[in-house]
Amino acid sequence: MLPNLFINGFACLTGDAPLEDFAPFLEVRKLRRAEPISKNVLLCALRALQQAQVPPSAREDMGISLAMGAGALGSTIKFMDSIIEDGDELSSPTAFASSVHNSTALMLSMFLQMHGPCVVTGQLDASFAGALVTAQQFLAKHLCEQVLVVVTEDVNPLLQDVLQKDPHVFDPFLYQPTQKAQRVAAAFVLSAAATQYTQFVLHHLQLASTQAVQTQSELLIPVQSCVHSALLLNHYLQVKEPFHLQEQFAGMLFNVQGEPYVLP
């Protein structure tokens, strides 16, 4: 039996995390080598954990379910650039190590001292939905009592450039939004049972593949596809009203319903 998901804390960030915002949580100098997407998701995680009132001592066995649309894109691009510009033999091993999806998961486990289960989902626009399914599984199988679901995405300069020349070249998969694309991150602290800090409850979570690929143009996913669903969820949580988030797009069906939680 799959549990409902109780949301005990959440945070969202558009653009890059200002370093001074980390000051209440940790020594800022420790972040000097961190990639922007890792810093962004770490700040969201810290804020969500604070909202959920999860003390550092309770983090040891917490799970991490991380969604990354195309992985650590900034580092992937740095590594490719170093091969193109400097050749294989002078390419950057640091950029290669950081380009692995898990490098972002490491930032969370290392800075937050979380040593529970950790799985990364990387499937473009369906990544966040996949991360929610994994979190639900962690809780159903009692691998942990709370899960940090996090999503972070970079901007792909190649896709952005192509889309600027023809915003609909990748229909029905991506379009170029009118505003400049920025990095986005979000974090949600979930549990299978309500805590005194629970704000929302999610139910009827569904992720499925469909045979339909075409979709109406208004449902096209913007250039940062992975964070789209997370931003929608964050919006519904902010307005504090019941919602039904449904995305049927490009061979994917994602459904989740939610409502504010009231302590009995």
């Binding site: 290669f96 898990n102 490491l106 950790c118 599984q137 070249v169 569904q206 061979g251």
Partner: protein, 399 residues
Amino acid sequence: MTANKVSVAGMGCVCACGNTAACAFEGALSGNALFALPAGRVESTYTSKYPVFLVPPSEYAQKPADITFSQFFFIKAALQAFEQAGISPQQLNAKRVGVIVGASVHPSFHCFPIYRRWKTDKLLEEDITALRAYLASPLAQWVSRYFGFEGPFQTVATACASGTDAIGLAKNWIETGLCDVVLCGGTDEVTQSPYVGFIRLLVSTAQRCRPFCKTRTGINIGEGAAALLLTNAQTAKQLHLPCQGYVLGYGNACDGFHPTAPDPQGRGLQKALSFALKEAGVRAQEVAFINAHGTASQANDSAESMAFNTILPGVPVWGSKGVTGHTLGAAGAVEAVLTLQALNQQMLPATVGFTTPDEALHLIPTTANTPISARFAVSDSLAFGGCNAAIVLGGKDAA
């Protein structure tokens, strides 16, 4: 103990030591594998020096141009799994069928040649088509659609632990009632990025890898795929599916220690192993062997030895990367298939490449092909970022 457990109805494998699960296990027993310089596959100044484990070219002669090697290898392995299960994907239409695939290259932005042209020259018309194909093919979703399934899907991108995670999560999807059947496994390919990246990190070796050996000098990357068709007991009975074995336990824990090295004590791995064994209800003395991650890097083999000596002391250890190479996101799945083959044939292969015990490890892996009789085995994976995963498998006679 396995009446309500998740069983393996069929499995398939394509890798450097064989083009089916049975052939790959034959390769593991004989030590035969395609270990070669990747000049025809990878453009790099290193290709005259660093060999890798490759899928033989005859296996991908029919690969369509618009899909990646990762996609092609996985479909090949999956078709073998359906064949062994004696069922077609269409016959599963009435069931809730999920797909979980682990990989490392495909879930990344794997369009380096296009990116290079964009940076240095200009894009070709076909580059736009290729980018559209990239956007249209998140791996597990693509596999699900390929077989006409309409269930949940997940592409696991936990680097080198992805294959083990995919199988463990698939087991959980069935046990929690999310699915009746899950097609799961892992797939990966040798491309320029991981090939150059591991060399630049100084963990690749120009020699054939030597897991757990005192003279080990590093890893060889490899490629391939393995697929397993998992099912619940009710579906297996209804559809008269055969049983190749069981997935009994899954554990996962992270180190939070270092970007590219495991915790030296293997603490995350110990936790993952303990959870998997507890979930399976299997005691250390019941385990026939461990199929280790055994990459032959200094740090990996040391951390793994620490964890094994603590959680599974005295249990025989087999390292199979001397015949498969390190197939990255596919590794856990390839090793799970080889583990089930070993349990079912009651034969534990030698660790190819191992010659000299390393006193510091307090562990000597298998040195000869050896008959076994126990019904359970453990397979584990470690990944960059300190992610660890372990599964407990049972042979087909484990019921």
